[in-house]
Amino acid sequence: MFTSIFFYFLASIAIASAIFVVLNRNAVYSAIALVLCFFSLAVIYLLLEAYVIAVLEVFIYAGAIMVLFLFVIMLLNLGLEDAFPYFRHLQRALSLFMVGLFFVGIFLIMFNEQGILHQPGEKFSAGDIYALGEALFSKYLLPFEVASLLLLVALIGTVYLAKRKI
């Protein structure tokens, strides 16, 4: 009972802040609202007993990646108004229509099966860091090593594309 009230509270914060991110015309405010969104998501992860994911959400997304977002905003030096080009009416109408279609479609499909929204899947047996380590270093050891290649390519791309003199 307490958990589900808490969930709806957090979920509405997350959705509201996400809408704020999209609608606000000041990019810095949007970024800050995104932090709020990430935080509420992190707490939802906590409710699911996925503790590691919750902490990582705050560390990586709300921490590191948001800093990057703010850097980009300051790099582009966006003013308050006219920062973004206004959509043309046709584009706006079309995109609203598509988003609405997607939204309605997903809702129709989901409510087609009665009560499916409240039925939790297989619960995390243990969302703690030990369980994560156990899976990561035995079953998922190949993905783990491939991740290092992925990070290496990202490093190369960063240095090659963003460095002025190379």
Binding site: E145, A147, L155, K163
Partner: protein, 121 residues
């Protein structure tokens, strides 16, 4: 399991509460004097010299990007450290797993270093 984290919630509530309460109290109790000079923005007691919004150099961005990539690398070290002792009973495999991972990223670090991306040119 979730109950174990109750103290953390309490701390969060206390911290947020303290911030809010002190804000409200200063708002209510503090005297308010507004005049033109006081409302002027200032920089460390000196008159302002330019706009606040200046364009950041891309060098900050480069450093931030590199930071994120190594930050993600560090994340993998946490679960590794936690399970290390138990996995060691099955041999030193767990050790070499991380050695390979770190070797590839150490190569990336050398690459970054040699190309001078860590220097403030």
């Amino acid at each position: 399991m979730a109950e174990n984290y109750l103290p953390i919630l309490v701390i969060f509530v206390l911290a947020a509460g303290f911030a809010f309460v002190s804000l409200i109290i200063t708002h209510l109790v503090g005297p308010r004097v507004t005049n033109a000079v006081k409302m002027m923005p200032y920089e460390s007691g000196v008159d302002q010299v330019g706009k606040t919004r200046i364009r950041f150099s891309i060098r900050f961005f480069l450093i931030a990007l590199l930071f994120i990539i190594f930050d993600i690398e560090i994340v993998f070290l946490y679960p590794w450290a936690v399970v290390f002792k138990d996995f060691l009973s099955a041999g030193s495999f767990i050790f070499f797993e991380m050695v390979v991972f770190l070797a590839i990223l150490a190569f990336g670090f050398i690459y970054v270093w040699r190309n001078g991306a860590l220097e403030w040119e």
